[in-house]
Each structure stands twice: as structure tokens, then as C-alpha cells.
């Protein structure tokens, strides 16, 4: 490579700089790892997570506050009389009301709140023909709404039936979506949508922590999604399953913990707590 007269850096300088930055990055990584081990119940921005959720059915009142809060937070259009007549509702968080005469599920005979299970091995991700749904680095199974072509293969493949299709264009009372949450995109007709564990909230918390160069404490995560924040009995706990000291990881070891359709091998990261009665 010929050396131009205007260039101030030499090859030696470039190599020195590269070596120094590599060593610096390695040192900072080691320092972060040391910091992490010193503070087990907090997580640093940029580390690998496995976000999940626990729903305590013994605490749950079945009040459906989580259902309403989820819809409001994530810009799910309100139903109203005309739209409910179309019988195509969208509920990222819904109530599973067991059909009379059916065999009992792991959740027992009563109704139970049911969001997307954010599986470790999600069937929906495997079948999506265009990569519109994917598992993010933090374990959240999320959706690129603009890329979705509306083939609905993910809906047919999901054993939990936790995906919804926009059968109609989104409509708001008085055609005014000004009450919509600006952090969440409004989905057009013809795409599939689902629970994202309020990923926009997760990102905001971690972005703030990154800017402040502070760890994210587990307590700040526990009630982060709208459903968990609204639950009057604190039946819903959110957290990082990759952090062994988090409240969620402790709940996962609770003898009451049950995973829905665990036999299918999908590895749901949302699980339930149910007393053995």
C-alpha cells in the first residue's frame, strides 16, 4: 500500500492502536464479569439475558387488569361495538378459559392469564418464511411487523395459539389514534402480532442504565411489563432467567412452578405457579 503524504497515521500506529483497543476491550469485559459476580441480582446493559415471566395462579384474582393494561400499552385497537361484532379480537394477554368437558391442562380447571410463552425453541420462528419473527438476543420472541407477509404459518404452528392476525385495518374511536403509545408501532392490516414482553420498556431501562453506566437491578425489572405493573396482587413477576439471583430464577425453582405443554419441548420462558391441591 502506498503511503499518501497527507496521512498522519502509519501502519505501525494502526497496529498499536488495534492491539491497545483489543486489550482494553478484553480488560473491560473481564471487569464487567467481575462486577457481575459481585452483584448477582443486577444485570449490566449489553449482557446476554433470558427474559421470562412467572404468573402465580394462587395470587391471581382473574380480574383481567393485565389484559386491559397490555392492550392499552401496546396499541391494540379498542374493540367497541362494531369491531366486537366482527369477532376478530386481538389480545396479546388473554384469559385461557378451559372448555367444559376437556381434559385438565397443567393450569387446572379455572381461567388463567396467558401471554406468549416466549419459547426457547419457538415453533413460530422455525416456520416463518421471511424471518419476520425471531428470537432476540435477550430471549424475547419478537416480530418485525413491516416484514410480515401475513401467511399466518406462525399462527398455525404455535401450539399455544398465542398469535393474532390483523384481520382489519386498525381503527380508533373517532379515527383518532392520538391516545396511542408513541413507543409502540401501530400494526397495519394483514400482519401477525403478539406479546413482546413490553420490549420497548425493557430497552428503555437498559438504555438508561447504559447511559448512566449503572447496572439494572432486578427490582427494577420485576414489574416492568404493563401486565406486571398493573396486577393488583403482584401475581405476575418479570425478570431475567439468566441471572441466578433474580426473583424470577428463584420462582422457577419453586415446587409450584409448572410449564405449559412442557412435553412438546418448546421450552416456554413464561411459567405458572400453581399450588398442588
Amino acid at each position: 500500500m502506498s503511503k499518501s503524504p497527507g496521512k498522519l497515521t502509519t501502519r505501525r500506529q494502526v497496529l498499536t492502536l488495534a492491539a491497545a483497543s483489543t486489550a482494553g476491550a478484553a480488560l473491560s469485559k473481564a471487569a464487567k464479569a467481575a462486577g457481575h459476580s459481585a452483584m448477582p441480582s443486577s444485570v449490566r446493559a449489553g449482557e446476554r439475558h433470558r427474559f421470562g415471566m412467572a404468573i402465580d395462579l394462587d395470587r391471581c384474582l382473574r380480574c383481567q387488569a393485565c389484559v386491559v393494561a397490555c392492550a392499552a400499552e401496546n396499541n391494540v385497537p379498542p374493540l367497541g361495538e362494531a369491531r366486537s361484532a366482527l369477532t376478530r379480537p386481538i389480545h396479546w394477554m388473554d384469559m385461557l378459559i378451559p372448555h367444559a368437558g376437556s381434559a385438565d391442562s397443567e393450569l387446572g380447571p379455572g381461567p388463567a392469564p396467558i401471554p406468549c410463552m416466549h419459547c426457547e425453541r419457538p415453533e413460530c420462528v422455525k416456520v416463518c418464511p421471511v424471518g419476520a419473527t425471531y428470537q432476540a438476543d435477550d430471549g424475547v420472541v419478537t416480530q418485525i411487523w413491516d416484514r410480515c407477509v401475513g401467511c399466518r404459518y406462525c399462527m398455525a404452528a404455535c401450539p399455544y395459539g398465542r398469535r393474532y392476525f390483523n384481520w382489519t385495518p386498525p381503527a380508533w374511536p373517532g379515527a383518532d389514534p392520538s391516545s396511542a403509545n408513541p413507543d409502540v408501532a401501530i400494526r397495519p392490516a394483514g400482519v401477525v402480532e403478539k406479546c413482546t414482553l413490553c420490549q420497548h420498556r425493557i430497552r428503555a431501562v437498559f438504555e438508561r442504565a447504559r447511559l448512566d453506566d449503572e447496572p439494572v437491578v432486578d427490582a427494577a425489572l420485576q414489574r416492568l411489563p404493563a401486565c406486571a405493573a398493573t396486577c393488583p396482587t403482584r401475581a405476575i413477576t418479570f425478570g431475567d432467567l439468566a441471572d441466578p439471583a433474580s426473583a424470577l430464577s428463584k420462582l422457577a425453582k419453586d415446587p409450584r412452578a409448572v410449564h405449559l405443554l412442557a412435553r412438546l419441548g418448546t421450552g416456554p420462558k413464561v411459567f405458572y405457579l400453581r399450588g398442588r391441591r
Binding site: 381434559a103 424471518g131 398455525a156 394483514g190 412438546l264
Partner: protein, 513 residues
């Protein structure tokens, strides 16, 4: 002399155009108001089916197309004179079915334009839909078209001698064909290899579709395997059935010389009997496996088919299959498989195939959920019926001019093997290079789409690499055309014998008499 279309043809064109207009209107309604105008709704708590009539019809058409094209390929390389008409009739019908399948899938998409664009840019080979998407485009439609035109060039050269509205196009497609021994030898060789290579290529989209229809996480492996086998076997049977029906129609409308001979009907009838004899036990075994399953969704699905809401449809399907098999059995037993009998059995099989696909897809979604949701329901709306009818109308409207362009009636028969000739080194080299280019392009496209060698698999390494894969497949599909159409050397051309074409014509005339 140019012929003017008769009243019958005009009324058929009018009917098909009417179907197309109604279908287009319904489709625009769907685009404007969203898929809420269909009978589909979300599964589970939504209490419906997310795939309905469109996907059922897609599976139906794709299955029929693959089976019919496979019949054409077998007929081509078997060199059975009795099946000669099969290949001639089957190819345009199969291409029409593939087109219908592609349009049905497009109608089902929530965003059809985005589907065309995003599938081309980001399609993932890990999804079974990739195989159907790329195969239908490159293998089923394109390769079948190439195979069809190449195999009828000798006829086209003859038809191009008579004035008609299609003469120019016929001349273009038959350009350079002189009926020499060398050309006939190449045709024979290319026809054999294309037919042989297309068989596995046709099995790929059919198997992928069977996987899309049957593979669910809660379904036991035995049941899935049985259902995949039933799907493929019944598609084969349905394809034979439709071929018999179309052959009868062609024989009636275009004259005996264009249709199938009695022995041809008997051969197809026997093949239909064989596929039915294999698919019926497979269907029964799948139901038994479903009933015996511990999985609540699977047993609920089996019960819904046998005794509940889908009972009438399921028993109609089984009844049609049994009647078709019984008709063929008694004909085979008496050694009298008459054309009427085989055509009747074929029509029953096609009806049964449609019911099978409907039940397999819809009943599973409404009754096969693993969680204890309320059982759902699905009733197609007039929009869905109209769109499907419109697609059928459009495909048949496109078939009509293609039949005028390459009529079913043959003018040149070539069933006797031509003596092998000295290999043309330059032609072979060009063909080999072309084939290698196609293989490399397809391989590259697949590897880039699949993110081979990388950890993540969300996006292709190169955006648009699915198109590279399809282009590679298309290049592979045209290898035969390159070998066949590569210009002859001057010396070769002078030594070729054009009188053989006249001999073939003479034989054709004798045969039609």
C-alpha cells in the same frame, strides 16, 4: 384457413370471463377491507382457522399438478405408445394447476405485494414454505413450461405451416426445427433426462406441502408420517383421476386422435387402483393412530373427524374413495377396465382429495389445539368461493389460448427409438457449462439464503439471494433446451435427413385414419 370460434367456445370464454370478473371484485374487496371478509379467524381463543379455502385449494392444485406432471414424465421416458397422449395432455393441465396453486397462495397472504417482495428478498430455506415458493416458481412452472414446449416442437413445426392467429408464435417456438435424425435423437435424449430429473424435483414441493399441512408440535411422529404418506398418495391418485377426466374431455372435444386410447385408460386406471389401494389403508391407520393418541388435541381431532362436526365430510371422503376403488377392482377383476369406469373413479378420487385436504387442514385448527380452548369453526364466505372461482376461471382462460397454440392433437409421432449418434463435443461442453453454471448459482443462492456457516439465521447474507437460488434452478431447468437448441455445425446440418419428418407425418395420418 383461419377458423372462427364456435358458439360453444364463445360461451365457455364468456363463463370463464364472468368467473374472473367476480373473483377479481371479491379479491379487491378483501384487499380493501382486510381478511375480515373471509371466514377465517385466529386459532385458539379466536375460535377459528387461520388457513381456509385458499390454502386447501392451493394444496389441492399443487398436489394435482405435481402428480399430473409426474405422470407426464413417466409416460415420456417409458416410451409406451399407449401413454403417448398422457404426456401431451398432462403437461398443459399440470402447468395450469401450478398457476392455480401459486395464485391461491397469493390470495391467502395478508399482504400479497409485500409477500412477493419479501419472499424474494428474505425467504428462509429453514421454513418449509421456501421449498414450495421456490419450487412452484422455478421447477413446477418454469421447468414444466420448458419441458412442454420442447416436447411439442415437432408438432409446432407442422402447425406453423398452416395459417392461423398463432402462426407467428408457433414459428418462433419451432424455429430451426427440421425434423432431422440428429434433432430427433437429441429430443429423445433430452426428453428422457428431463423427465427423469423432474420426478424428484416434483416430489420436493409436494413433500414440503405435506409437511406444512401435517407437521405440528403436538402431533405424534407415527401419525405425522402416516398423514404425509396419505397426502402424497392421495395427491397422486387425484392427479391420475383428473388426468383421466381431462383425457376423456379432450377426446370428446378435440377428436379421438387427440385423446387417450382404450389401453391408455386401462393403464391409468390400474395406476389409480394401485395408489388408491395404498392410500386407503394409510388413511385408516392415520385415524386409528389419532384416536389412540394420549395427546388431547390429537384425539379430539380424530373424534371430530369420525363422529362429530366433520363426520359427514370425512365419511363422504372415505365413501368416495371406497366406491372409486371398488369400481376399479371389479373392472380389473373382469379384465374390462372401460374408459367410463375409470373416468368415474377418477372424478370420485378428485372430489375425495379435496375433502381430504379440507379436513386435514381445517379440522386440525378448529379441534386439534393442545390447550383446552373451545372448539372452533370455519365456514368460507362468498368472497373466498368467488376468489377461488376467479382463479379457476383465470387459469382455464389462460389454458384455452395455450391449447390453440399447441393443440392436443399430435401431428408427428415419435415413439420408436432413434439410433444413437456421434456425440457433438462442442454441444456437450456448452450444455455442461450451462448446467454447472446453474448448479453453482443455485447452490450459492441457497447457501446465502440459509446463512450457511453463520450463527444467526434471520436474514440472508445477501438480501435477494432467494432470487439467486430461483434463477439457478431456472438455469438448470433450461439445460435441456440448450442441448437441444444449440445451433448445429454446417456439416451436420447438410448431412441431416429432413425426409424423416415427412415419414412421421405419414405415420400420423395413417394412425388418425
Amino acid at each position: 384457413m383461419k377458423r372462427r370460434p364456435g358458439v360453444f367456445v364463445l360461451s365457455v370464454i364468456g363463463l370463464l370471463s364472468g368467473m374472473l370478473v367476480v373473483g377479481a371484485y371479491a379479491f379487491f374487496q378483501q384487499l380493501e377491507h382486510g381478511d375480515v371478509v373471509t371466514g377465517m379467524r385466529s386459532v385458539g381463543a379466536g375460535g377459528g382457522a387461520v388457513w381456509g379455502l385458499y390454502v386447501v385449494t392451493d394444496g389441492f392444485f399443487l398436489g394435482l399438478g405435481c402428480a399430473i406432471m409426474a405422470c407426464a414424465c413417466v409416460a415420456r421416458f417409458s416410451r409406451d405408445r399407449n401413454l403417448e397422449a398422457v404426456a401431451r395432455i398432462a403437461m398443459p393441465v399440470a402447468i395450469t394447476c401450478f398457476l392455480g396453486a401459486a395464485l391461491c397462495v397469493l390470495a391467502d397472504q395478508g399482504r400479497p405485494l409485500a409477500a412477493l417482495c419479501n419472499l424474494s428478498l428474505f425467504a428462509r430455506p429453514q421454513s418449509p414454505m421456501f421449498v414450495t415458493f421456490s419450487s412452484v416458481g422455478a421447477v413446477c412452472l418454469f421447468a414444466s413450461l420448458v419441458h412442454c414446449v420442447l416436447s411439442r416442437r415437432s408438432d409446432l413445426a407442422e402447425y406453423a405451416k398452416h395459417p392461423s392467429a398463432w402462426q407467428r408464435l408457433q414459428r418462433l417456438l419451432a424455429a430451426g426445427y427440421r425434423g432431422s435424425a440428429a434433432e430427433r435423437y437429441r429430443r429423445q435424449k433430452v426428453g428422457f433426462w428431463m423427465s427423469l430429473l423432474m420426478l424428484p424435483a416434483l416430489l420436493a414441493p409436494l413433500t414440503a406441502l405435506a409437511i406444512i399441512f401435517t407437521v405440528r408440535p403436538a402431533r405424534p411422529l407415527v401419525l405425522t408420517l402416516l398423514e404425509v404418506a396419505t397426502f402424497i398418495l392421495l395427491s397422486g391418485a387425484g392427479g391420475l383421476g383428473l388426468l383421466l377426466g381431462v383425457a376423456a374431455l379432450v377426446g370428446r372435444l378435440a377428436g379421438h386422435s387427440a385423446g387417450l386410447e382404450i389401453r391408455g385408460y386401462a393403464r391409468l386406471g390400474k395406476a389409480l387402483l394401485l395408489t388408491l389401494s395404498l392410500s386407503l389403508p394409510s388413511l385408516v391407520a392415520a385415524q386409528i393412530a389419532g384416536l389412540a393418541s394420549d395427546e388431547p388435541g390429537v384425539s379430539a381431532y380424530a373424534r371430530a373427524l369420525l363422529a362429530e362436526v366433520y363426520g359427514p365430510l370425512f365419511w363422504s371422503e372415505v365413501g368416495f374413495l371406497f366406491i372409486a376403488a371398488a369400481l376399479l377392482w371389479q373392472g380389473a377383476w373382469r379384465r374390462k377396465l372401460s374408459p367410463r369406469l375409470t373416468v368415474g373413479a377418477g372424478v370420485l378420487t378428485v372430489a375425495s382429495l379435496f375433502l381430504h385436504h379440507y379436513l386435514l387442514l381445517v379440522a386440525w385448527q378448529t379441534h386439534g389445539m393442545s390447550l383446552p380452548y373451545q372448539p372452533g369453526s370455519y365456514v368460507p364466505t362468498w368472497i373466498e368461493y368467488a376468489v377461488v372461482l376467479g382463479i379457476v376461471g383465470l387459469c382455464l382462460l389462460l389454458l384455452l389460448p395455450s391449447v390453440r397454440l399447441i393443440p392436443f392433437a399430435p401431428l408427428v409421432f415419435e415413439t420408436e427409438p432413434v439410433k444413437s449418434m456421434v456425440a457433438d463435443g462442442r454441444r456437450s461442453l456448452v450444455t455442461l457449462l450451462w448446467f454447472s453454471g446453474g448448479l453453482v448459482t443455485a447452490g450459492l443462492g441457497l447457501a446465502l439464503s440459509a446463512r450457511a456457516g453463520t450463527e444467526a439465521f434471520q436474514d440472508p447474507i445477501l438480501t435477494g439471494s432467494p432470487v439467486v437460488f430461483i434463477v439457478g434452478l431456472a438455469i438448470l431447468a433450461t439445460t435441456g433446451a440448450v442441448y437441444e437448441l444449440w445451433p448445429e455445425r454446417r456439416g451436420e446440418r447438410a448431412s441431416s435427413d429432413p425426409s424423416t419428418a415427412a415419414e412421421c407425418r405419414g405415420r400420423a395420418r395413417e394412425r388418425s385414419r
